[in-house]
């Protein structure tokens, strides 16, 4: 039906325009999910969220095509004891960024629906307090690989 598509296309375009400017305010970089040994039902994803708006925004929910549930978690360390707890939101300051990194805030992937191996990627969606949503394709990285990356590159790699 040509008349419908002629009508629908501008409508869709206008809807996208409404969402467009908002989506540009929060961006994600350096995202990865951690590869897991076979049999592991949980993993974690890490990323850097940048907020270009003046107002702070909160990450309030996340989901993945490869895990039953994705929760926001944080780590704290007190006198050598490490604790991991679920948190409701992660705030990204206005004109600032927040890193979800090993040992700190992270996305906990619970109930993996498949083994996450180095070289795979998973779908990850993020929902923010102002209604923004981001749909990401996130690479899976082995902890060994990310650790090698943190070293200064001259280490010999015995594998």
């Amino acid at each position: 039906m040509p008349s419908f598509s002629r009508f629908a296309a501008p409508l869709l375009a206008s809807l996208l325009c409404v969402a467009g400017p908002a989506l540009a305010e929060v961006t994600v970089s350096d995202a990865y999910a951690r590869a897991v040994p076979p049999g592991q039902s949980n993993s974690a994803a890490f990323l850097v969220i940048r907020n270009d708006a003046d107002e702070a925004v909160r990450l309030i929910d996340a989901a993945s095509d490869s895990a039953g549930v994705v929760e926001l978690h944080t780590h704290s360390e007190q006198d050598g004891v490490l604790k991991m707890r679920r948190i409701d939101a992660i705030e990204i300051p206005g004109r600032g960024e927040h890193s979800l990194a090993p040992g700190a805030d992270h996305l906990m992937l619970i109930g993996l629906t498949r083994v996450l191996s180095e070289g795979d990627s998973i779908g990850l969606s993020l929902e923010f307090s102002d209604g923004q949503r981001l749909q990401l394709d996130v690479p899976v990285k082995s902890i060994m690989a990310t650790m090698q990356g943190m070293q200064n590159g001259h280490q010999h790699h015995a594998e």
């Binding site: 040994p37 004891v81 679920r86 040992g103």
Partner: protein, 201 residues
Amino acid sequence: MKGSPLKTLRILLVLTAFLMAGMTAAFLLRPGSADAPSLGAVRLGGDFQLQSSSGPVSLADFRGHPVVMYIGYASCPDVCPTSLAVMTQGFRRLSDDEQARVRGIFISVDPERDSPEKLAEYSAFFHPNLVGLTGTREQIDQVVRQYGAYYRIAELDNSALGYAVDHSSRLYLIAPDGSLAEVLSHNITPDELSAKLRLLL
């Protein structure tokens, strides 16, 4: 919340007591002061027996090998794999001959979720010389006490995980004679760890 306020209070008090005990232990045994692996007159370390996927294993079985030991749990998504990666990267910094002589032990304090078979698979992911062990609650608690470690099962009402395990995160460096040589922070680098291992080889 279903329980009476009094019951909740009692649980909170018990938890607080555990927490205080743990924090005190963690403070006394914190990595910064861990060069001498002893707490006053109490000497840390010693033999123990746990289960691997291929039967009982005791520390005495590792006599003649420098051992790096870590106490954690397999569904720990971040801190434990990072520490085990540091351990095994430390191994990989060694020459092939040296590497063949070092051993790693990963002890899970979460036997409900970590069977010896699962731990075998998990450990092999990191390094062929890493074995995964667990045991009965009594056996686990004994090792934890012996090495001045700490853990607590923390119920997570708001998480699909059900519970998490709060735990100390250290690498225990054990000499070839089975004595505890040093308690290391998990923030140690693979290079520092391999240097320490070489001294024991």
